[in-house]
Amino acid sequence: MKSRTTVERKSERELVVTRTFNGPARIVFEAWTTPKLLKRWWAPKSYGLSFLSCEADVRTGGTYRFVFGHAASEQPMVFFGRYIEVTPHSRVVWTNDEGGEGGAVTTVTFEERGDETLVVMHDLYPSKEALDAAIATGSTGGTGESFEQLDELLITLGESSGRS
């Protein structure tokens, strides 16, 4: 089956993720903004991720703080920010503050089309350099495992060949 999730770098500062869900916008919105439900999908099991805590006060001006554990890492990963706008059933905007000033502002819109809902998630970075840096460091908000492992392997091999 062809994957239904698309990602595109729309401009020097923007990334856009889209997906269509089989259900009305209010239900997709509910699953996105209710911490108990958000917890069930934001840390996919297939990635070895699990929520250690999930605090989200989903209203305009509210804040969130997600802490993930990963099987391959002792250090938990923390993501936090502020909800700039929460408009029921149609739009949520939040900041991503864990990375300091280079963090993106994410806007997600829920657009009902018949029985389906088109979700468009838009990351706007403060500058081209900020998005380039996110790419260069491999930060995808909780992944990057295989290349990080390769990096580690390179370092280990580098050290051992240096000794020989």
Binding site: T5, R9, L15, W32, R40, P44, V119, L154
Partner: protein
């Protein structure tokens, strides 16, 4: 794209299986170097070093750039490849999340139907 990443991974391991190539990576980790410099450092012919650098380049571990008559080698992927690989990983993450979200949406829909029926009764 997934296939591309997987293949790249295999190619990377093959590239790392050789002691000289690991040495070259270590050297390039300290500073960029020309093929000539690397050949001298590892007591090899230019042709031999070109081959090793070629393998590393194919694995995406090294990039080379020719300026005038000198080919300079440095660590890392070509920027475009790096970006394409990153975007694919980002897509896979959201795809996995959204597959789970699909299930939550289905469940909420079912629940709403049941609740609706109860209300109607």
């Amino acid at each position: 794209m997934v296939q591309y990443i997987r293949t790249r991974f295999d190619v990377s391991f093959a590239a790392l299986s050789d002691a000289t190539r690991r040495g070259v990576l270590e050297q390039l980790g300290r500073a960029d170097a020309s093929i000539t410099e690397l050949a001298e450092r590892f007591h090899m012919t230019l042709t031999g070093m070109k081959k090793h650098v070629g393998v590393l380049e194919q694995a995406g571990l090294v990039t080379t750039e020719k300026v005038g008559r000198v080919r300079t080698c440095k660590l890392g992927l070509h920027r475009l490849e790096e970006e394409a690989a990153w975007i694919e990983r980002y897509r896979q993450l959201w795809d996995a999340r959204f597959d789970e979200l699909d299930k939550v949406v289905e469940e909420l829909k079912r629940k709403e139907k049941v609740d609706g029926r109860k209300k109607a009764e």
